[in-house]
Amino acid sequence: MQRIGVFVCWCGSNIAATVDVEKVSQVLAQEPGVVFSTNYQYMCSQAGQEMIQESIHKYQLTGVVICSCSPRMHEATFRKTCEKAGLNAHMVEIANIREQCSWIHKDMATGTEKAVILGRAAIAKVHLNAPLTAGQSPVKKRALVIGGGIAGIQTALDIADAGFDVDIVEKQPTIGGKMTQIDKTFPTLDCAACILTPKMVDAAQHEKIHIYSYAEVEKVKGFVGNFQVTIKKKARYVDETKCTGCGLCTEKCPQKKVPNAFNLGLDNRRAIYIPFAQAVPKIATIDADYCTMLKSGKCGVCSKVCTAGAIDYKQTDTYIEEEYGAIVVATGFNPIKLDKYDEFAYSQSPDVVTSLEFERLMNAAGPTGGTLLRPSDGAHPHTIVFVQCVGSRCDDEKGKPYCSKICCMYTAKHAMLCREKYPDTDVYVFYIDVRTPGKNFDEFYRRAVEEYGVHYIKGMVGKVVPQDGKLKVQASDLLGGSQLHIEADMVVLAAAIEPDETARPLATMLTASMDTNDFFTEAHPKLRPVESPTAGIFLSGACQGPKDIPETVAQASAAAAKVIGLLCKDSLTCNPCTAQPDELMCNGCSSCEKVCPYGAITYADKEFRGPNRTTLLRRVAQVNPAVCQGCGACTVACPSGAMDLKGFSNQQIMAEVDAICR
């Protein structure tokens, strides 16, 4: 039996005006287990708190009920008070007789009666309370950033600058991501490489940053503060410690017909390659799908020309295990495939290109050396048609239901650059809506129209037909009320963007949740936009939703700030009100695991004593208290009732129900 003390607060006249506090304390004194009951003007005052502490000592209280304002107001205060007097903080319950009683009722008798019932419910609960201690779990002071694009680089730099070790895992041979392929950036039109490559170098040279390029995350175990990650370093057949990046091998390799992924297949590269001149790390990689030495054992030219002796045809995938306190996902995006959009003739004519391909065609380091030429015949295009929203805002299975956000701005940029470099070109942009929220964004778009004379036409392109070396474009001009037939030299499609295909399997590994479009979900759409609901997993960049560069960098730094906040701590205080399975009753059916939003539940095979001295191996649920946030979803999903929630147990809640309905 608990020894319970009841403390009824007047809250000045806030409670005392409509609740007969004296009567409440007298009636509650009669409840079983109550050894002391009193009332006071302001329980939360210094004097009130001291009164509670003295009573705890004097009456050897094991539980305390405070009838006062909302627990959201002073629960923490009173818990601390009692803790100082040696009572466990979770042996305190609050009966809310202000917000939910005195303030809503005018009649003294009604208020008093209800206050007594609320007090009884709290007493009934305290009877079943048990001391709870918050666990501590240590924090490994190292962060992992998955993805080495601008988002990953920025996050890593910020975390490293705060003095913590950071590893970047990038699946490509170089960091830099999509931004390396972009020519100019809106709305300032400065060159992407000029602002990105210094950051890549910073990351490479930072003593706190380690880059695993050409590597992937293979396995993730553990939880916030204590993740164990296996990283797979794919065989690049070049010894990273020896390669100087001189590039001789990439010039001598006889296998010349490899589609150059960096230029989106618009030209060819060799089987051994460095993606581009400013690659970080600048190390050659052999493409095993094309290398004749690896395929048939005949060749070995690169090995002969390499003065550093870095070529190693026998290299295999290697695995690294590392521990991290926090993981940042920065897996980025890709344009969608357009093969389902026959009407735009993307698969039929090389002169129909995506916007990202167009970036390469405009780029000085691209396949055309920066001169805009048609891929089909290398001629200079005179009429260019841009089509927006290709695959965005679609409700069919061909496209994506969301707005890809960045297309309006980069299309304006492309149109503007075309007109600037080649004033003799006619540029048409077909749009559904032009969306330019962002600093200096609308001004930018208006400049394209007003200063550069880009023809913006409200309407969509219905079809593109390649004919006699031209592209016949049939489109509608909704505002002008006509159907247009344009003979274009090039058509540029603003393809929707989607999360990288590695994101979904990664989310499964991290038990981080995703929406139906495979974007990572944030812990709260408004208030916690850079965290995943899974503790210790943070989101940076377009893996969370379509974003332009300024937004990506902002989110990257925000994620870094959250990571730094976590890594600064030596240990994490866990939520003591966690779910707890009774292994003897657990069926191991996985119902609880399926509803847990945090991935806090795992299963273990344990031996139990069976009848007649036998042992039975049973699958039982295990809750990781460092990860469990105490929502209780699992407790109801559990058919046998094996799962209970500390602090809000089945019995406690039923006791409250009983007290209220009594």
Partner: protein, 146 residues
């Protein structure tokens, strides 16, 4: 259904800690009145509400049970109220199927800012229960008060 004279219904309101309990607090702060018949039990999340608690309340003499949680999409634990929504839909449907008055059970989403909605909901719900009269179909005779 006859309305008993001097019928004082007992109504149990399960409120999630993050939105609806705060919403109830707000209606208090704004001095918005609702009947004293409504007694609130704080649970961490609407998904903590076990159907057994609902039945227990009716057993012990409740005349109506209402669950309040964060609006779908706003759950503090991101997904709890979605599970609660399915569970309660099915439970209420079964109770209805067994002939228990539909009006005795209800789910309402109340945010921390919706003090007025909380009070209005409780007034409305109490009125419904007053019309329905005492719970007779799902009561435990041993727990009857009168």
């Amino acid at each position: 259904m006859s309305v008993t004279e001097n019928f004082k219904p007992t109504i149990v309101a399960f409120c999630c800690n993050w939105c609806s309990y705060a919403g109830a607090d707000l209606s208090g702060t704004n001095r918005l009145q609702y009947p004293a018949n409504v007694k609130i039990i704080r649970i961490p999340c609407s998904c903590r509400l076990n159907p057994m608690f609902v039945l227990r309340a009716f057993q012990k003499g409740a005349d109506g049970v209402i669950l309040c949680g964060c609006h779908p999409g706003d759950c503090h634990y991101t997904t709890g109220n979605y599970y609660a929504r399915r569970r309660m839909t099915l439970l209420f449907s079964l109770l209805d199927f067994m002939g228990i008055e539909r009006g005795r059970t209800r789910v309402e989403w109340v945010s921390a800012a919706e003090g007025a909605k909380f009070a209005a909901t409780m007034n409305e719900f109490t009125e419904t229960i007053m019309k329905l009269g005492p719970n007779r179909r799902l009561e435990d005779l041993r727990c009857r008060k009168d």
